[in-house]
Each structure stands twice: as C-alpha cells, then as structure tokens.
Symmetry: C2
Subunit: 351 residues, 2 copies
C-alpha cells in the first residue's frame, strides 16, 4: 500500500491462477465446483484464493453469463405493515432462490413515479421485477409499459395480462362481514381505505356482497386513508349514529363496523371510546391486517390475517420460473391467490 498508488485493485482470477501455478480456467472450475479437478489442484487453488483474498468479479461474470441474478422490487410506503411484511417475504424467498434484491420505494403513486422507479431498476441490471404498488393508477400505467424483462405484480388485481399474486381481499372482507352478521348485527358499517387502492376497493366489494347475500342493508361506506387519524374522524362520524340510551337497533344505526385496516380501526375505537361507547357492547369492531399491536388494543381487535411470507414466496416463484424456463416454453400468465384468515378477538364478541 504505497502512498502514491491508487486504491489497490482487487486480485483477479489470473492472479490466483499464477500463484497456484495453474491456468485461470482451472481456478474458474474450482469456483464453479466443476467435478473434474484433482483434489490437490483444488486445494492449491483454494489456498491461493485464501491468501489473496480473492472474490470473483461480479460484473465480469454477469457480462459473460448474461445473468445478474438480481431481481428488482418496486415497493410502496414500507412503514405500513402489509408492504413491509411482503417486502420481507420477497427478500427471503429471493435469497433462497439465489437472487439479490434491489428495492425502490415509491413515495408518490403516479404513473411517472412508477416509470422512474422501473427505469432505475432497469439501469441496475435487474433480470425481472416484482411490483407492489396496489393503486389503480400505477397498475394501469404498468400494464401500458412494454418491458424487456418479466414482471410480476403483487396486489395488482388479476385483470391485467401480467402474472400476479394477491391475497383474496374480497374473501377477507366477506369473512369479517359474515362474522359480524352472524353475531346478530342487522348490518355492518364500513370504513374503507383510499379509493384509488385496489385493496380498498376489493374490501368494499367483499363487504357489499356479503351484506347483499344476507339481505342486509348496505350503509354508505366512510372513507379513510389507512392512517389512524382518518379512522378517528370516521369514528366520530359513526359515533353520532349509534343508538343512544335504548339499545333498540333501528335501521340506519351503527352496531357493527368493519374497518379496512387495523390502524384505522384503532382510530375508530378511540373516537367511539371518547364518545362513551362500549365495545363490543354497543359497537362491535373488526379490522384487517392483524398488525402485531392488534391483539393488545382495548378490546383486542378481530381482524384478518394475511400470509405475507406466502405472497413473497409465490411472487418470487412466478418470477424465477420465467427467468429460468427455456425460451421455448410458453409460460402462461399465472395468477396466484392466497387465502386470508379470520382472527376473532374481543372487539367483535362479548364472550
């Protein structure tokens, strides 16, 4: 390490070969675990690798093999429980399959931002991407792009000619709604997520369908933006519609609320409590997501649990199968649907 020389170049395969007294190709064979290398040769090479601290050059390898073994992920706000969990599941599955994961987080959900994100990943040499941007605008923008690598969407709906993985949001909403109806409520109110989110929309659909099938009235849904604050505001609104004094359950009155995510449910609960209402006595509540906190709300929140690890695994499987399939095999546009699960807690049942 002389003072004048540039940052020392890392050793190359040729350096290793020289030190071990073999050809660079033999070094390559050792590193690729090729069977036909004499044990003593292999040992010498490994020894040389060790003393030199040699590592294969990623770029050179990628150039000749045409594989970067890197997948891109376009994610959204990772402080929401769902996206964060999915991201984690994706990464685990990718690593398992031998791929790196490069992530881009979108802050605004516009078509332009999506293109920027994909462009950035594309410049980074990813072989394919998973897009978790479950807003209508970004999804349609994605459908309009012609990309030179495979794409898989998560929670992007199944209407697009793109392989997709999603949790059956509609089913989840039905499960909750049916659960509340079964508990004897005349109908179930709903605090929805932001209307441009497909998941929010699907939950509304499931809730509506469940009510209609049960012959229950469908009250107008309130709308939030996933945040506790928006839930709180919706809760104040709802509190005004709870039967006061007599427990007579008249039409138009709130006795049960399905909130589209747990964070908003927390806000709703707070507003109801401030209004002096008891839960589940006067109003039963249920959420969606099963965040770690949900079991410790007061009362513990009935909710829907989604298997995000499974979502991540499925997406990677879909993507990797496209990357590794021979070009001759036409891979159809698979759709994978993960079933959610109802978690019943004290917010919906008096027991």
């Amino acid at each position: 390490m002389s003072r004048t020389e540039e940052r020392a170049r890392p050793p190359t395969m040729a350096d290793v070969a020289h030190l071990a007294g073999v050809s660079h190709q033999t070094v390559s064979r050792v590193l690729s675990a090729h069977p036909n290398v004499r044990a003593s040769t292999r040992a010498a090479v490994l020894q040389a690798i060790d003393t030199l601290g040699y590592r294969r050059n990623f770029s050179a390898r990628a150039l000749v093999t045409r594989r970067t073994l890197t997948l891109g992920v376009v994610a959204s706000n990772p402080t929401l429980f769902g996206p964060a969990s999915t991201l984690s599941g994706l990464e685990a599955a990718a690593r398992e399959a031998g791929y790196m994961v490069s992530t881009v987080m979108m802050r605004r959900y516009t078509a332009a931002a999506l293109e920027d994100a994909i462009d950035h990943l594309s410049n980074g040499g990813v072989e394919g991407i998973v897009v978790i941007v479950p807003q209508r605008e970004t999804v349609t923008a994605l459908a309009g792009l012609r990309l030179p690598f495979p794409v898989v969407t998560v929670e992007g709906g199944h209407d697009l000619p793109i392989p997709s993985v999603s949790v059956d949001q509609e089913l989840g909403a039905r499960l909750v709604t049916d659960h509340l109806l079964a508990a004897g409520h005349r109908t179930v109110w709903h605090v929805a997520g932001p209307p441009d989110w497909l998941e929010a929309e699907a939950r509304v659909r499931g809730w509506t369908a469940a009510l209609e099938e049960a012959g229950a009235e469908v009250p107008p849904p309130l709308v939030g933006d996933w945040t506790p604050l928006s839930g709180y505001r919706a809760g104040q609104e709802l509190a005004g519609r709870v039967a006061s004094g007599s427990a007579r359950r008249r039409s138009g009155q709130v006795t049960a609320v399905f909130v589209a995510n747990d964070q908003m449910a927390l806000g709703v609960m707070r507003a109801l409590r401030e209004a002096g209402l008891s839960m589940p006595g006067q109003v039963a509540i249920a959420g969606f997501d099963d965040i770690p906190e949900a079991d410790f709300f007061t009362p513990p929140l009935t909710t829907i649990r989604q298997d995000f690890a499974a979502v991540g695994q499925a997406s990677i499987r879909l993507l990797v199968s496209r990357l590794e399939a021979p070009a001759t095999v036409a891979t159809e546009n698979e759709r994978m649907v993960i079933e959610p699960r109802l978690i019943v807690r004290g917010s919906s049942t008096s027991s």
Copy 2:
C-alpha cells in the same frame, strides 16, 4: 421472433451505431452526454436507440468502469417501525445520490448470519454497505471482519473503528425520564428492550443517568423483547406494584413507567387497564419511537420521535463520500449523531 431462435438478444451499442451510421463510440458519447457531438448526429443516434429500444448493458458498463453504483444494506426485521423507516430513508437518499440499493434482511442475529448476509451482498457486487443490525453480537462480529469495501453502521454504537450514524438513544431516554420526574414522580420505572440490543442498553443507561442525577431511586428494570406481548407481561408485573387504595406514593411503588418502545408500551397499558388502573392518573406512561399509532392509544402516548429519514441520509452521505473520495484523501472515521425529540401526549400529563 422465430419459434426456433433463443430469447432474442437485446440490441447492443454496435447495433445502434450501425443503424445510426456512426461508430459505437459516438453512441457511447451521446449516452454519456458528452458535449462534443453534433446535434444532428445526436438526433440520429437517439432515433436509432428509440427504434431499437436500446438500453446500455449494465454489466459491461460496470466491468469497465469498475462501478456498479450499487450499495448494500443489511437490515433486520422490517416490520418494526424503526428499521422500516430507516430502510426507507436509506433508499431515498441512495437513489438521490444515484445509487441502487440491494437489501438483505437478517432473521437471526448471529455472527454467522451477518457474515452470510454480507457475503451475499458482496457477491452481488455492491460497492459499500450500510449495516443496521443493532445487536451486540452482530456489531462485534462486524468489527472483526476485514472487508474490501467501505462499511457504515447504523445504531451500531460509536466504539468501533467504523463510521457510524445513530440516534442519541441515551438523550432520548433522559428526555423522557426527566419529563416524568418533572411531572412530580418520585422515580420512574423502566421496561427495557432485549438486552442484546445496543439501543435497549443505551436507553437503560440514559434512564439510569437521569434518575441518578435527580437523586431518584433506580428501580430494577423489567425486560421485554420489543413485542406488545412482552410489554403486557411487564405491565402485569408493574400493576402489582401500584399503590392500591390510598394514593400514597411510597418507595417501591410504581407511578411512572418509561417503556423502551411504543409497541411494548401498548402492552403495558393494556395490562394496567385490565388491573383497573387509570392512566395517567395512577400511572404515567411513556414510550419510544412515535409509531403512527401512538397518538391514538388510550391515552395518547408520550414518546420519543427519531428522525429516521435523517439517519438514512447521513449514512448514505458517509458511505458515498468514501466511495467518491480520491484514494489519497484519508477519510476519518466520522460519527454522526441525530438528536431525538420528546413528544408529550396524554399518557404522561393529566392536562
């Protein structure tokens, strides 16, 4: 796209050059925004690029420039608010600086797992890494590694000869503790995070110091693992030590609790409520992190807010400065400390 041919190879710079009637070098110049290219030539090249849908080959570029423009991040459980937010801040700052981010999430916090993670990133050609693994074991393991690229730690403490960024946890703990003491409490109890986490330890230190400086008794801290459940258990323990009946504040009795994170605080609050205790009337509570839910707990939680975006930015700045500094400039081991902020809410004040 004939049926027999392999997956069509993407066009190369030579293809573009041929179509535009120039040399490949001119194409390169256009793409690198070199000034000395005639406008008409540039237009022709751009036209050819467009019709061919050409994109520069990442690997070939990286091979010759010796730059992958990719940073690695070793992160931990991203469903915790802090890590997720930091990751987000890192990614934003990296993109701003023109770098990709490859992420590896650790699931177990052992030295071996850390080495695996770093190895994986290293194989992916990262130019440097940010390690957010704030456990003692992983931090010491990291210190023992001799890596061929720059490393920056986040929340890894400042004892290591490694550039580091962290929030002043000790200060945060002092702020909370002082706040509670100022409210008239004789002393403040503590529910700590897992002992192998440096942050947990620093918060204990800050809490202890604040108490000692105020001449207050230092009660034995309870220990949790960041989860609401562990907080709940600690809360049950604490509930048994709250003065019952008379409000006399005797020594050894609990009137104020500083919980090392908001999730555990939620558990504590639930346990206290189940024990029929009022907050902040009988017991004042404060947390740490300021998760989005904290303002909607019952009562709203006094807590410490950390500027994770700033942490992310600082780490990237530190790392990138090392990558882009000429080798001759000796970059000292900088330490950056971000100051946290006390957020006072209803859980600690009766107003």
